[in-house]
Amino acid sequence: MTATLEAPQTKRKSKSAQMRKYGFFPGCVAKESCKELFNSTMLLADKLGIELVELTAAACCGASVLNDTNRDVARVLNARTYAQAEALGLDDVITICSTCTGHMRASNKELLESTDHMGQANAILGKFGAKYNGGVTVRHLLWLLIDDIGLDELRKMVVNPLNGLKVAPFYGCHIIRPESVNGWESSRNPHSLEDIIEALGGEAIDYAGKTRCCGFHVQLEKDGIAPAMVGQNMRMAKDKGAEAVLTPCPLCHLALDGYQADSAARWGRTDLPTFHLPQLVGLALGIDASTLGLNKHIVSPGLVLQAHDLAPAHVA
């Protein structure tokens, strides 16, 4: 049952990593209901000394739903996005959402593995003078932090250590599964978020819910399903002593942050504040806490942050 992983695509330093300049695909949620994710990502990029060039004309990745309506449309939309990155001389497209990561990598895999798919995409892209040459790798900010910045470097940059804050990692499905698409780390036993939490001076909580689903994609399908999935997972985290949750995915953030109130009746109160990845990293790296959007959470992180002397009361 051990995972057999593909050789990580990121061993070779990409051109983007060498230039410290990346194509950036923020995704729809970071531009709409979770603007604090977009803003904290840009602040973190500044702090890290990397440039994120936003692909402003890009279309939605397909959100894992567009495939339900048509087999090809998401793939061609994503090929258009990759063509835009290539036109800017960038070979990495950085995402800040697990669903964007998985969906865009799946599209890219199909394009790279099938000349039919690549041909179909370029035939359409050609109508408006665009072409995708297959030179793009889709990576999540989480992977960039570990592969291109490095945990040692990150550790050195910490000025506001998390003082043992007990953080439960919550991966979100599409950054780890399926392994044939992601494969950057084991989907059964991932540890990148744990590594980040510990590099920042926090304590990572181990619990079975960390690789399970938040239910976001079916929140409108049937009453109570997403809250039940949230409650189940947050109960496990809370029982292991978690004080907060860290997620690389804004969809998980919305579900976990938004549904703990509904899940309390069945699973007991958990009230775990859910940080976006760049918020917690930014906080530890000394970015002004009042600029990280920590006041945009439903479950306020205020008390937890104050308890660990991490931020003054007014910022959350």
């Binding site: 739903v65 339900d68 309506t69 061609v76 359409i124 599409h174 239910g215 079916v218």
Partner: protein, 318 residues
């Protein structure tokens, strides 16, 4: 060299609560977890109960939880799962009622399968095909992966939706629906699509937990194909297909998934009761200052995006 099998023990006939037995096992760790169970059953405790038959990942009987994750015991080497404390924990599959030790009540799983009428229902008579029913290699190719399903229920046990709502058909049943929906010899495509929609096809949470299928059936892609089939068959008066189609609509119009329109389009703009149900979540977001825009400015060159949709004849919500 020996290791410890940490076994879930329970007998529904006599036990109120389960307990665990730790049994020392002396087989080489290059052998399988099923070999280990058979060895301790033969040598230490004959009452240890589990299902098994073929020992070679063909019959699908020996699915169980091994160190907290489901798989076939006959396909899992001990050394691949041996924990640092030299133990391997074996438990019955989750999402099922335990019966005795590692044996579970499979009835809900089979019920969902039989509801599909899992047999070919051709339009014409067998006598019209005196020799054979021919299927082209291309048409057959679509069914090859799902034909490998051994109904071990690993995907059902791993499914987080089943764990909170047992009404959900689960991945294997939907994969079987796909197997008949995509079979050119079958005549009940629409009926099958309607049946599986009723069994909560659209409750699949896209989590890819079923990608751990020990036979690489990967039901996720079949689930997506069945969803497309239901839309093709016009079965769209339901939150699931409306959700997918309104997302397509907003992407085509603006380049982006427009959250506020997606919520209204999925629930139904005039479905007051439904909108009231989602209101608390929306209000909570708004109170926290998470206010998605009511109107979105289209991304630059949105006409290219429209062209992609039109060229591919991709459907959107009317």
């Amino acid at each position: 060299m020996s290791f410890i099998l940490d076994i879930f023990r329970f007998d529904q006939a006599t036990d109120e609560e389960p307990h665990r037995d730790q049994v020392e096992c002396h087989i080489p760790p290059t052998m399988t977890v099923l070999d280990a169970l058979e060895s301790v059953k033969a040598e230490t405790d004959g009452s240890i109960t589990f299902r098994r038959s073929c020992r070679s990942a063909i019959c699908g009987s020996c699915a169980m939880n091994i160190n907290g994750t489901t798989g076939l015991a006959c396909k899992t080497r001990v050394d691949s799962v041996l924990r640092s404390d030299n133990t391997v924990a074996v438990d019955p599959m989750p999402n099922f009622q335990p019966m005795k030790d590692l044996v579970v009540h499979m009835d809900p799983f089979w019920d969902k399968y039989t509801r599909l009428k899992p047999y070919l229902q051709p339009a014409d008579k067998d006598s019209d095909h005196a020799l054979e029913r021919r299927v082209s290699p291309e048409d057959m190719h679509k069914l090859v992966a799902v034909a490998n399903c051994v109904m071990c229920a690993t995907c059902y046990a791993l499914c987080p939706v089943v764990s909170v709502d047992p009404a959900f058909a689960g991945p294997a049943a939907i994969a079987y629906a796909y197997r008949f929906i995509e079979d050119v010899r079958d005549s009940k495509r629409k009926e099958r699509a309607a049946q599986i929609s009723e069994d909560y096809l659209w409750l699949c949470a896209h989590c890819y937990a079923c990608s751990y299928c020990p036979k690489h059936v990967d039901p996720q892609d079949d689930i997506i194909a069945v969803k497309r089939a239901t839309i093709e068959e016009g079965l769209i008066d339901h939150p699931g297909p409306r959700h997918a189609l309104v997302i397509a609509k907003t992407i085509k119009a603006t380049g982006m998934l427009h959250e506020t329109e997606v919520i209204q389009g999925t629930v139904g703009r005039f479905n007051i009761k439904g909108l009231i149900k989602v209101a608390p979540f929306g209000l909570r977001l708004a109170m926290a200052g998470k206010i998605p825009p009511m109107f979105l400015k289209p991304v630059p060159k949105v006409n290219e995006i429209k062209m992609i949709f039109d060229t591919l004849e991709a459907p959107v919500l009317a």
